[in-house]
Symmetry: C2
Subunit: 189 residues, 2 copies
DNA sequence: GTGAGTGATGACAGAAGCTGTCGTCACTGA
DNA sequence: TCAGTGACGACAGCTTCTGTCATCACTCAC
């Protein structure tokens, strides 16, 4: 085994994604992932808590990004506009877009990975709610606003991903449009 | 082993819940659950796909209940009011309330169980969206309405559970109140 | 009744996920 | 140069989950 190659975590992530694409998530063993990264199975578990976690390394950074963006919104702004402003600001593309698309395809195809993605989303959701609470928003309002904000974010992101865009251009507009749609649904009696 | 005792599935569910409470989810083995139910580990997997699933037997019934209630709402009703009317109608207490509370406590304390619960919720969410589509609601509207409806349902249920109620009395009122709160958050500029 | 299904179960084997432990090696700093 | 530190390999072991086959209770023609 070639020790001390450096960049261990990323080597494991790349190896795992490639193997999941080639032969499927459940037909890929942790030993195979480790082998492709020139490591042993035991070392995989030193970097990731379990087999699924290898695809969710960027979750923590994304959460931090959002919370930071919320803190930058002018005080006194209502809860939902605060979240939407934060979403519009935060660049959520750390990894190349191509990587994100490959990753999304693998996750969508495997229930265990979908489960893990959902709880990551809930974790982010709780962080957003907490950030709103720190700004003085009432608890139930913060939670409702988070639900609404994430619903808008999802719709905007889906529309956004469906087209071919350069950098973050037009994403704030997509957010506004989605927010308008949501308002229409909420107010239809 | 005492074979043919009948009610196998329920015996396993009861044994699992009791053991999870007594010694924790991860310190409980499937073999222990099976033993308490007078079965072997192998038989456990004939009734449940995996260890987590033993706590989520009622999910399918709940989904069916909701979809049926949606179909019973007068045609022409807008999407969100349709969902809220369905929620108000459907009695979601199949099991005794005490069982649901014990189950909820165990799930909340164990991340793997939370993951499973989330994907069950997503499954129900997709069923609701699909039921709305069948009524002629536009796709994006159906999805947004489902997000909104589930957000309202969660808030109403939490408030509802916090108090001591008899049967379903007052639940429709809790739904209306939560819906009003959501509307306030959505329209605050 | 009696023998042929049918379905639930037990028994066994085994792959894969995950953890504990210890020794080894590369790197660092006094 | 030598002790400390951190990443890693090697090994053992438990648990989850699956495949396979024999066995037992029950049912239903005949």
């Amino acid at each position: 085994m070639a020790r001390w190659e450096g960049n261990t975590r990323n080597r494991l992530e790349q190896a795992a994604l490639a193997l999941f694409e080639e032969q499927g998530y459940d037909r890929t063993t942790v030993a195979q992932i480790a082998q492709r990264a020139n490591l042993t199975e035991r070392s995989f578990y030193r970097w990731f808590a379990d087999k699924r976690e290898v695809l969710f390394g960027g979750s923590q950074e994304l959460e931090t990004e959002f919370v930071t963006a919320i803190d930058a919104v002018p005080p006194g702004t209502p809860a939902l506009p605060t979240l939407l402003a934060a979403f519009a600001t935060a660049p959520r593309v750390f990894r190349p877009r191509e990587f994100l698309l490959r990753r999304a395809a693998v996750i969508a195809a495997n229930p265990p990975l979908r489960e893990r993605e959902l709880i990551k989303l809930v974790t982010i959701s709780e962080a957003l709610t907490s950030a709103l609470l720190d700004r003085g928003v009432a608890p139930e309002t913060a939670r409702l606003a988070t639900d609404l904000g994430l619903s808008v974010l999802r719709l905007a992101t889906e529309r956004w991903m469906a087209e071919e865009h350069r950098d973050g251009k037009g994403f704030p507009e997509a957010l506004s449009a989605a927010a308008a749609n949501l308002l229409a649904v909420a107010t239809s009696t």
